[in-house]
Symmetry: C2
Subunit: 343 residues, 2 copies
DNA sequence: TCCGATACTACAAACGATTGCGGCGGAACC
DNA sequence: GGTTCCGCCGCAATCGTTTGTAGTATCGGA
């Protein structure tokens, strides 16, 4: 029966008050202006009619849409599921809805999505697009709308960012290997133009010297992209330069799995001749043969924190820009072990 | 400089026409009413001012929000990434945005999300929530808004649904095994209350007799849930009842991987002693040891088709209810092979 | 009795667009 | 030359809210 929405006018008529009084009565922040018994009468009428404010009308007047945009580089990447879930869980709590944008059509796609979102008057924006620099459109957008970066940051830290602590994460991997007794450790890095690519590489070199090993840039081989194939290629290049490596820290799980192939093609045994660590700990890694030791990044938490700081920004609280680092953990599995004795 | 949005009024003033004329000039479907040179003048003014219609104002008047809701049972499940991507890709093309709802908080959560979406006046709804029956809220919702089901259907086919052709998919697996020479084939089924669980089980039995094998319900073991552990449990139960099975068709990839463990724990070799097929072909299966032969469902396509029929529904074209079946393919890998010779 | 303060409530103008309808020209026709 | 018609444009109502301002009681105090 209630297929036709009841409007504020209906509620007002039902309660025998003027529409504006009804509006104030229903709004908690203005309810004190109207007489308590009137408030109750209006509330009763609203309940009876099943009144729901029209979000468009309200948004038009108040200039808020109660929606935020989330721009993801690739929805099909399992990595982003938890982030989205985290974001969604806290925003829904506060009555916001989540507009999702999938920027899988090249580098400029994200920008056009940002513009779409702005046109829709989202109250906030969460960007997970890669890259260390931020486009002009995005920077422009920051003036018009609250904005938070997730799983990435910008070089000048001008936008609040929630990121995994890559330095700590790589540290977990390197120290783990060091404690197992490894001394010749290499790194298969991600592309340098991606913030995580460069960051993890730097962290690797830094930790190498921290644990008392040689921090040679020559121990690093950059993969063209975060995928299995480039991982194999890079690992092969690395292992041909340094045949004596006993361990490889990969900048990403897929790169790590790429290393599997490289190591196998050389007739060596993973976890015995060459230990391998991944990064991100995506699903199913534990079912690999051997299961991949990997740095686990709290992605869901990342989404939660991003949404929380976005809400703070929207509320006008001043959030310090700069990045918030989330601590990773290490899932130790069977792709890592003590180095094999050289006979 | 254009931080402040220009409105239709500005455009009208700039072009020296009335606001209503400007409106008509800018709207392709009404532009023929106004003089061509005026149209051009208005268009020029709009371009100059960077005018963008205010979606809320427009939506308030036209009763359309140009947004559709997509409700997913679990965003973290990699399965739904491609569906979302497919949906998004076609909707964005037509100027719609996608509101995402993650129904991971129990069975009633989906309903409350549907209500949220309705309150927001979405123009359409795409449901991917599981279950063979549809809740009353959803059924109610169908009156108020266009609605399409994806990756699921309802028993009475009262709502248009885009689903994978499970019968054909199971057929691919069974026939593949049969052609390899298997004669004792079992099935690890999904939960019966899920539409895919029951459907694939029925398909399995049907195909068994089609290929000339015994279609015994005793060859089926139902797993409690689509996960690895329940898969192992079910497979163990099945193999203890029928130690002579040479192949298992799993209702799901994770169940298939669960079978791996069961087979291994019995000291048998996968793909030799016991062949296994999965269903869905989720990422990384090709990197498993052995790589899992699996029925591949065109999930992205599913999203695309769902969105397309939703657009048709919204446009008022009458779409025949009932289900559209998408044909799966078979990714043959190394978990299947000819049955080992006995004795 | 009258005044001013207090406590509500009503009026009406926004927000930015769409759209039915009426008006006003000029051309065509009788 | 008057009527009709048509092409083009402006007027104003409308969608459902929020909110500044004006109005009306009621009450206390002088």
């Amino acid at each position: 029966m209630s297929s036709i929405r009841s409007t504020l006018k209906d509620v007002a008529r039902e309660a025998g008050v003027h529409i504006s009084t009804a509006s104030r009565a229903l709004n908690p922040s203005t309810a004190f202006i109207v007489h308590p018994v009137t408030v109750e009468r209006v509330a009763e009428a609203a309940r009876k009619l099943g009144y729901r404010p029209h979000p468009l009308a309200r948004g038009l007047r108040t200039n808020r849409t109660m929606s935020v945009g989330v721009i993801i580089p690739d929805v099909e990447n399992p990595l982003f599921g938890p982030i989205i879930a985290g974001v969604e869980s806290v925003l829904v709590e506060d009555g916001y809805s989540v507009l999702i944008g999938n920027a899988d059509r090249g580098p400029n796609h994200a920008d056009s999505l940002v513009e779409d979102m702005l046109e829709r008057h989202v109250d906030g924006l969460i960007l997970a697009t890669p890259g260390r620099v931020v486009s002009d459109t995005a920077r422009q957008a920051q003036r018009d709308v609250s904005m938070v970066l997730v799983n990435r940051s910008v070089d000048d830290d001008s936008i609040p960012a929630i990121v995994g602590d890559d330095h700590a994460g790589i540290g977990l991997a390197v120290r783990h290997l060091r404690e197992l007794g490894h001394e010749r450790i290499g790194h298969v890095a991600g592309p340098e133009w991606v913030s995580t690519g460069r960051g993890r590489r730097d962290a690797f070199l830094a930790w190498m010297s921290t644990v008392g090993l040689e921090a040679d840039i020559d121990l690093v081989e950059e993969a063209e992209w975060y995928q299995v194939e480039p991982g194999t290629t890079a690992a092969l290049a690395l292992l041909s330069r340094h045949p004596d490596l006993t361990a490889i820290v990969a900048a990403n799980d897929l790169l790590g799995l790429g290393c599997y192939r490289a190591v196998r093609s050389l007739g060596k045994v993973i976890g015995v001749d060459v230990s391998i660590t991944g990064y991100n700990d995506m699903p199913l890694l534990d079912l690999m043969q051997p299961s991949l030791t990997a740095v686990r990044v709290p992605y869901r938490r990342m989404g939660v924190d991003a949404a929380t700081t976005l809400l703070a920004l929207i509320a006008g609280e001043d959030v310090s820009p700069g990045r918030v680092l989330l601590s990773p953990t290490l899932a130790i599995r069977s792709s890592t072990g003590p180095p094999a004795d050289r006979g």
